[in-house]
């Protein structure tokens, strides 16, 4: 409440009292590196207006690019937004600095459900603050699927993992994420095995399942399916919730009579989290803390969610999120579904080799 009054009334007072502070901040820049199409840009403008800190905002479209830049070091970024497993790996390498939580009072608004899950990757939540989260599930072209198979089990992984079902959609176009970290846990979970299994024999079983449906998959790719679904070029994709929702919105914008829907498989799905963290060599960590605190203001993060249609990890923001999004069970699932969402942990290098090799084998179909 005090926070609220401050931001509303006392901006000019702050300016008057702390001219030197603001001036100091103003000649500083904040460099943010985030996923593409992932923020309402007016949030950045408002932040600059409020603090005088100029924001340089760069984007990437694959996790690998971020991870490689971080591993090389000296990236010059103050805030980056890695996804769970990548976050864990980069934490283990020692890329990030611990957060000075006294500078982020808005952490009090966070949602335990998400914060606790994030602690799997970031023990004690020392390093990262969740920005957005979502699931990995089924994106599909509503009319085409209905046409080919009126009783298609769109709410089940049978859509992909049952050969007699997925084969029906082969010619229509089936895409799958080019990401063993997402697909193999789904296959494991479908087989009734633990999704986070590190047992090579169990992983091989998931591989056999994937090989059996390989002939029906047009391509493994992690982003092409967005445009493919939106244009009506493909009719089924195993992908990230937000990307499918983006495809749905693009199709609606293009008004091309393509209707896209997303569903969370009833067998359970992977819950992923993109979280903000500050690299050790960040040139301006103070500004980074200020930004993280700013974006976790319930109204601000709600604005971001309303724009990108992803759920966020801020409980109090839900009062400001549009009803359309908050009531959408594919974005904010109900409790029963939430319980079925699983998280996974990174593989050690040896298991990773098994996974990568298996993945190449599956992709090349040999």
């Amino acid at each position: 409440m005090i926070k609220h009054a401050l931001s509303g009334v006392a901006l000019s007072a702050m300016l008057a009292v702390g001219v030197s502070n603001v001036a100091q901040a103003a000649d500083k820049e904040l460099h943010i590196f985030n996923w593409s199409d992932y923020i309402d840009t007016s949030i950045i403008e408002d932040f600059t207006k409020e603090t005088g800190i100029k924001v340089v905002y760069d984007v990437y479209d694959s996790m690998e690019i971020l991870e490689t830049k971080m591993l090389a070091g000296g990236s010059g970024y103050d805030i980056v937004v890695p996804t769970d497993r990548n976050l864990k790996r980069l934490i283990d390498v020692g890329v990030f600095q611990p957060l000075d939580k006294s500078k982020i009072p808005n952490l009090s608004h966070m949602w335990d459900e998400i914060t606790n899950r994030l602690a799997t990757y970031d023990p004690g939540n020392e390093i990262a603050v969740n920005y957005m989260w979502g699931t990995t599930g089924t994106g599909y072209n509503v009319n085409k699927i209905k046409e080919i198979m009126p009783d298609a089990p769109v709410d089940s992984m049978d859509m992909f993992f049952k050969p007699e079902v997925v084969s029906k959609f082969k010619d229509c176009g089936v895409y799958m994420l080019d990401s063993p970290d997402d697909v193999i846990p789904a296959a494991l979970s479908y087989l009734g095995l633990p999704p986070d299994s590190k047992d090579p024999a169990e992983i091989e079983k998931a591989g056999e399942l994937l090989m059996s449906i390989r002939p029906y998959i047009r391509k493994f790719h992690s982003s092409e399916f967005i445009q493919g679904l939106a244009n009506g070029d493909i009719c089924l994709a195993f992908g990230y919730s937000g990307d499918v929702i983006q495809a749905r919105d693009r199709a609606a914008e293009a008004d091309n009579k393509v209707e896209i829907a997303y569903s969370i498989p009833k067998e359970g799905a992977l819950l992923w989290m993109d979280s903000m963290a500050i690299p050790k060599d960040a040139p301006n960590p103070e500004a980074a803390l200020a930004f993280i605190n700013y974006i976790q203001k319930p109204e601000v993060i709600a604005k971001a969610t309303n724009y990108v249609s992803y759920a966020n990890g801020n409980k109090d923001s839900q009062a400001f999120i549009s009803k359309e999004i908050l009531d959408d069970k594919t974005i904010y699932p109900d409790e029963a579904v939430m319980k079925k969402l699983y998280t996974t942990t990174p593989n050690d290098p040896k298991v990773q080799r098994v996974v990568t090799r298996l993945w190449t084998k599956i992709k090349s179909g040999t």
Binding site: G73, R89, V93, D171, G173, D233, R357, T360
Partner: protein
């Protein structure tokens, strides 16, 4: 005379500089990066920043440096031979590059021939048309092929409209689409050297052949083609060498089953985060390509003799 004697030392310095610039260029932009890659290829992956060890820290002194150098290992190269994936990728890349080069020669030769035989005043325009696509980014031109080849793309719409096919062709993504992309993208590199040799061809030789009763087709195989071989060789190498390491075209147009070393290297570096193995892949690729480059230089030398 006085002018030249005073100018001589200056000119010597200038000459030295002119010779040094290309060498400096090669050292800074080719040799130094290559040595770094070579060094990483002898390292071991580590959970660290950068993700390999030893990182060769000069600040630790020369003794420590020697200790770090002793940690170098050939394991990554041995690993490449143990997993058939890498051999398959190299072979598949060489095959795709070789077939593409042949196709480009088949398409490019008639074009270059037609250009060289066109009326003199048309030639600059024709040459311009060959070069014109370079004004658009390579990446965008490859993307344009997605629009042409995709199931609901221009090609399928046209063929469906004409009634040639009743079901859209699934060309994209596939290895066939990769061939189309490579042939399209590298065609100018074949046409330009071919055109250069064919244009210089002495036409009186063909006239003499005709006078002596040689039919045009035979004259082509006996005179024109042998004389254009330097252009064919130059064009083939200019196309083949970059095509082997091609990454963008197989990534955008190829299917998941299109195996090329560029993609394998990318996965090794970005997905596996195994910088040492990916460096070893790159070094071996370079070694494989040095062979055709040396053959090319030999052929050039012979041609100039």
């Amino acid at each position: 005379m006085a002018m030249t004697t005073t100018g001589a030392p200056g000119r010597g310095w200038l000459r030295w500089l002119v010779v040094a610039i290309p060498y400096l260029w090669l050292i800074v932009l080719f040799l130094a990066p290559f040595l770094i890659v070579l060094k990483i290829s002898f390292s071991t992956t580590a959970i660290a920043m950068p993700p390999y060890t030893p990182a060769l820290d000069l600040s630790a002194g020369l003794g420590a440096l020697w200790e770090q150098i002793q940690e170098f290992t050939f394991d990554n190269y041995i690993f490449l031979t143990e997993d058939s994936l890498y051999l398959q990728s190299y072979l598949s890349s060489l095959k795709i590059a070789a077939i593409s080069t042949f196709l480009i020669l088949l398409v490019g030769y008639p074009i270059a021939y037609g250009m060289a035989r066109a009326r003199r005043e048309w030639r600059p325009t024709l040459l311009m048309l060959v070069i014109l696509p370079f004004w658009t980014s390579f990446l965008i031109r490859v993307y344009a092929w997605i629009g042409i080849l995709k199931p609901e793309g221009l090609l399928n719409q046209m063929l469906l409209g004409l009634g040639v096919i009743s079901e859209p062709l699934n060309i994209l993504p596939s290895t066939l689409a990769v061939y189309i992309g490579i042939v399209y993208s590298y065609l100018p590199f074949m046409i330009l050297p071919l055109y250069a040799t064919l244009e210089k061809l002495d036409e009186t030789l063909l006239e003499a052949a005709a006078d002596l009763g040689c039919p045009p087709i035979q004259a082509f195989w006996k005179i024109t083609f042998p004389l254009s071989i330097p252009g064919v060789v130059a064009g083939c190498f200019l196309v083949f060498i970059p095509a082997v390491g091609e990454f963008v075209i197989p990534d955008l147009l190829g299917g998941s089953d299109t195996l090329m070393i560029g993609k394998t290297l990318w996965a090794e570096f970005f997905s596996n985060r195994d910088w040492p193995v990916s460096s070893a892949v790159a070094v071996v690729l370079l070694a494989i390509l040095v062979v055709p480059i040396m053959l090319f230089q030999n052929a050039q030398k012979k041609a100039s003799e």
